[in-house]
Each structure stands twice: as structure tokens, then as C-alpha cells.
Amino acid sequence: MNKRGDFDNVATREFLYLVVFLAFFIILLLYVRGYTQQAVLWEDYYAKQLAHLIDGSLPDTTITMDVTQATRIAHATGKRYSDIFSIDNENKQISVSLRPGAATRFSYLSNKTVLDPQIKLLSGGIDKNTFVFHIA
């Protein structure tokens, strides 16, 4: 009877289960963390507000939006400010990311092009910050 072979099989299987469970646990932990820090809720809010501003704007307009709350959450989650907002002009999609490894995506309806999107950190801190972009 090959007892060593049995042990190897069991050990491999247990190790595999452990790896899968740890991966599952980490993903779930990040998911729960995103909600407890309210990052997901604010991502959703900012993505939809940006879509609303873009769709409702006239061409050749510069829009300034207060994003202080977003920068506060990004500061807590360790997200770089420059990575918070991204706008895909080709697919008309807005991505807002306030947590590591994930973002919330929302599409705007109009064919407008967004130029020069950038976060401006007023007074160099997180007290009052704005997101500025230009509608072509």
C-alpha cells in the first residue's frame, strides 16, 4: 500500500483548497472594505454626476467640480489622486476609482469630447480639491 502517495495527494489537495480559500477571502475582504470606507458609494455618485455634467453642458465649456470627498477617501485608501478619474472619449465612459484594484464605470450619452481632465489640489491639501475638464 502506497501510504506516501496518499499523503502527497491529500496534501496537494488541501494546499489547493487553502489557496482558493485565501484568494476568495482576500477578494471578499477588498469588496467589504470598499463599502465600509464608502468608496464604492462615492465612486458611483461621482461617475453619475460627471455623466450628468457632460451631457448637460454646452460645447466649449470648462467645468469645475468639487471632489473634496473623493480625495479624502483616496487619501484613506492610498489611491493616487491622478488615478481617481479617467474619461474614455472613444467609448464615452467615465471611470472613478477610490479603492485599490477596482473602479466604477458609467457611460455618458452624448458625443462630446472631454479634454484636459485634471485634479487640482487647492492649498496643496485635501481640504478643498476640484476636478477640472473642458468640453470640446
Binding site: V40, K48, F106, S107, Y108, L109
Partner: protein, 145 residues
């Protein structure tokens, strides 16, 4: 004496257990934190604001007409929106997006799962039109580097 201990759980059973656990946690979180910011009613109004003024100047039933001429992105609209226009004189229809929203729009008081819509009657260029626009667009969580 049974020295083998418990029978090993199958991989399928293990995954099923994880899925049940994850579903419970996700359900609990969605109940506690709510379903997020429901922007659909405002979005439907925005879509109507883009569509109706366009109807005054452009013939939706002309050959080769596309909503792009109204500054609306057809690709976005085709996924989870509806723009429906019916010319009352000959019942000719134009639509872009999910046509079934036309029926679902009238059920939106039954459940939040149904789209939010704006319907209006428009007189333009000597014709009368019925316009229904609707949206059921939800934000999506995606992986982000």
C-alpha cells in the same frame, strides 16, 4: 476504528460553499448600504432633452438617419437605453436601443428593476410624434490598475 477521518469534500461542494458564503455577504452589504445612487430618472430626462429638440430640426424617418446626428452616442444607447419615436399620421416607428423598454416603462412603479422613462407628445414640422425615452443603465464595478 475509523482512522481516515471525514470524507474529503469535493471541489464542487467546496465552491458551492464559497458561493453561498459570498452571496450572503454581498446580500448583507447591499441591504445595509443600499443600492446606490439611482440616477436613471435624471438620465431619462437628459436623453429626452437631447432627443426632442432634435426632432424639431431633423427628420427621424429620412433614409440614413442616425441618432449620431443629434449628438447622441448610438453605441451607448444601444446597450441599456431606448429612444422610440412614432409618427402618428402613419404609425411609422423609429427606435434605437432596447425596444422592450417601451413595455417595461409602464411597469416601473412595480419594481426598481424596470427602466425609468420619459414619454412626451411632440408637434414638429407639421407632424405629431409620440416620443418615449428610457434608461436602465447601472454603474459597473471593473478591475482597475
Amino acid at each position: 476504528m475509523n482512522r481516515r477521518g471525514l470524507e474529503p469534500i469535493s471541489f464542487f461542494g467546496f465552491f458551492l460553499l464559497l458561493i453561498i458564503l459570498a452571496s450572503g455577504i454581498i446580500w448583507g452589504i447591499s441591504v445595509f448600504y443600499g443600492k446606490g445612487y439611482d440616477y436613471r430618472s435624471s438620465e431619462a430626462q437628459t436623453l429626452a432633452d437631447l432627443t426632442v429638440p432634435c426632432l424639431y430640426t431633423i427628420d427621424f424617418f429620412a433614409e440614413g438617419f442616425s441618432l449620431e446626428q443629434c449628438g447622441i452616442n448610438v453605441k451607448v444607447v444601444s446597450e441599456s437605453h431606448l429612444v422610440y419615436v412614432r409618427r402618428l399620421s402613419d404609425n411609422k416607428e423609429f427606435y434605437a436601443g432596447v425596444l422592450d423598454y417601451k413595455n417595461q416603462c409602464f411597469l416601473n412603479h412595480k419594481s426598481v428593476a424596470y427602466p425609468r422613462c420619459v414619454s412626451s407628445s411632440v408637434s414638429a414640422r407639421g407632424e405629431r410624434y409620440e416620443v418615449i425615452v428610457g434608461t436602465n443603465q447601472r454603474s459597473r464595478s471593473v478591475a482597475h490598475v
